[in-house]
């Protein structure tokens, strides 16, 4: 029986592309995922630098079957998640149709301006209006969407320095989920009663809200057949200097996935400083996968997962 969905990693790295001798095995491109439904429908999640190679792949394997049509879902609009768009070759082919979806922080500046703003002469030699493809932009919120053809999408705001959405795709009874870029919600307000800034109401409410929001995120990816989760840091790194940067510690993410009976989980959005050797070490520590628990693995460029 053919799988309902296939997910392929074209970029697994966070922050900035990092090609080099030490990132050959896992890859140095920034986030880009290809989600293929059994119907052939093509969905792309994030337009990091990995999108360039996906575009080239589509030119070779898909264009001969007819004009390329795709829906691109952006987790958020930080640069490492949109930088591949100008280098997506199908954009320059007449007949290509692209729908771009994503969250925006302010209603008075839509996705077209924020993402399409890369296509201006100051950043790139081609303007948006000069692209041959038809590109449409759709702003998303936290909500549920029927994408047609039996594909249903739920979105959930995560915890990142700008509004960032996790995606939960449900198709033919299978669930594929993304939860990046994000870190656990935490009480940002002062909890030190001796601090002159201390405010009891803020401190108490902060604790409560953080707990509630973390539970909502867990409920969002609960029971997923595949979860791709931000795990940029180890707990030690996170606690020592990276709290508030919007990325998760590996240990926290794995525990959350296990609590919510996720079947398979990809550790994703690797830190640009993380070498292949270090990722191998992390695999030894965290991907032993005892029987009956969530199967944890490290995302690698070119890897394909069937759901």
């Amino acid at each position: 029986m053919s799988p309902a969905m296939r997910v392929r990693f074209w970029g697994v790295r966070g922050s900035i592309p990092c090609p080099g001798a030490e990132t050959v095995k896992y890859g140095g491109n920034t986030p880009c995922l290809e989600l293929r439904l059994d119907s052939g429908r093509l969905i792309i999640i994030d337009a990091g630098s990995g999108l360039r190679e996906l575009g080239n792949h589509l030119m070779v394997h898909d264009l001969s079957k007819g004009p390329i049509q795709t829906e691109i879902f952006l987790s958020h609009t930080h640069w490492d998640h949109i930088m591949g768009l100008p280098f997506f070759t199908p954009s320059y082919i007449p007949g290509t149709r692209i729908k771009v979806f994503g969250p925006v922080s302010f209603e008075d500046q839509g996705l077209r301006d924020i993402v399409g703003g890369q296509f201006t002469y100051r950043y790139f030699p081609v303007r948006q209006t000069e692209l041959a493809a038809t590109i449409e932009y759709f702003d998303l919120k936290e909500d549920h969407y029927d994408l047609g053809g039996g594909l249903v999408l739920s979105t959930k705001y995560l915890n990142h320095p700008i509004l960032c959405l996790g995606y939960r795709f449900e198709y033919q009874g299978k669930v594929f989920c993304t939860a990046y870029d994000t870190e656990p919600f935490h009480n940002v307000f002062c909890t030190d009663v001796c601090d002159p800034d201390y405010d009891e109401a803020m401190a108490v409410e902060g604790e409560m809200v953080a707990k509630e929001e973390n539970l909502r995120v867990e409920k969002f990816f609960s029971g997923a057949d595949l979860l791709i989760h931000d795990t940029q840091y180890t707990m030690k790194e996170y606690a020592s200097s990276k709290t508030g940067w919007g990325h998760s510690p590996i240990e926290y993410a794995i525990a959350a996935a296990k609590r919510t009976k996720v079947k398979r989980m990809a550790l994703f959005h690797h830190d640009p400083l993380r070498t292949d050797a270090q990722l191998d070490e992390l695999a030894n520590t965290y991907c032993q996968n005892p029987e009956g628990e969530t199967e944890v693995f490290i995302a690698k460029e070119g890897m394909e997962i069937e759901i």
Binding site: F189, E200, A201, E205, V209
Partner: protein, 297 residues
């Protein structure tokens, strides 16, 4: 403004357009810029500076309620909004609103004094919250009372800004007839600030309790049962502020009959109310110091 009389429909259109770009109060804007420009600013300070500006508070709640469609309840707490939206998003929003200062400077406030309006708003917020405590409302729910009180007169801002002459006449009429300002506004413009407040709250998708306190703080009996206590406490806090002249939002003749009804309904005596004046004064002073308004202010 033109001498040709404008229709109610035209007025409503002008108000709707203004609501989309409503500036924060210049009273708080310098502190907003200082807090938001500082990369090391504390979340407590950010929360506090936003809480002291009714427009900014409304904008943050508007953003969170429009972004989180799937939440079962609308959010009326700034602390919750800051944690959920993240510090950066809230800072950016505050900065965007603050840079509209050119539209919202003291001069744009025309017939009303911006600082007196601000003090009145804080007084109603602090009093509503204190009354909520007296009524046994749990601590975590009291911020909503502060927000509702702080925002209750938002509807005056577009009216005062868009219809300068008419607003000035409304203030004069209320003074002449020693009546409540909303009646004078209605007589002159066929629209009053409670109606406009309701428009703002609905357009910004604020919670039902906030919508009702903006719309019904002059007739709390019209509020639904679920929001009645909050609206009544805001109404009483408003009368308290007007009677004791904590700041001014142009409403200097509270309806005495309604005051007695409210005191009875809420179940507090005047002495208890009077005892709140120290708390209110202290809170206003603390806010002024925080905003650095004490020197020359």
């Amino acid at each position: 403004m033109t001498d040709i009389p404008i229709t109610k429909k035209q007025r409503l259109n002008l108000i709707r357009n203004y609501i989309d770009r409503m500036p924060s109060l210049s009273t708080t804007v310098n502190k907003v810029l200082e807090v938001c420009d500082n990369p090391r600013t504390s979340p407590n300070a950010l929360n506090r500076v936003i809480a002291l500006d009714p427009v900014l508070t409304g904008q943050v709640l508007k953003l969170i309620n429009s972004a989180y469609y799937s939440l079962p309840h609308q959010i009326s707490s700034l602390s919750r909004a800051i944690i959920m939206l993240g510090l950066n998003t809230v800072k950016n929003l505050a900065l965007t609103t603050a840079v509209l200062e050119s539209l919202g400077g003291e001069k744009s406030f025309h017939s009303l004094s911006m600082e007196a309006f601000w003090i009145h708003s804080i007084c109603v917020g602090v009093t509503a919250k204190a009354l909520a405590a007296l009524k046994g409302v749990p601590a975590l729910e009291r911020e909503e009372y502060f927000v509702a009180g702080m925002l209750h007169d938002l509807g005056k801002i577009p009216l005062n800004n868009r219809f300068v002459d008419d607003y000035s006449q409304s203030l004069a009429l209320a003074k002449l007839e020693q009546s409540s300002l909303y009646r004078a506004e209605d007589q002159i413009m066929e629209i009053d600030h409670t109606f406009v407040g309701g428009m703002i709250a609905e357009k910004w998708k604020l919670s039902k309790t906030i919508v009702d306190s903006l719309r019904y703080h002059h007739q709390p009996e019209a509020a639904e049962e679920g929001t009645r206590l909050l609206v009544s406490l805001v109404a009483l806090a408003n009368m308290y502020a007007n009677t004791l002249d904590f700041g001014s939002a142009g409403d200097n003749f509270p309806e005495e009959r309604r005051l007695f009804v409210l005191i009875k309904e809420v179940g507090v005596d005047w002495r208890t109310l009077s005892n709140l004046s120290r708390t209110v004064t202290e809170e206003i002073e603390k806010a002024k110091i925080f905003l650095q308004l004490t020197q020359g202010g």
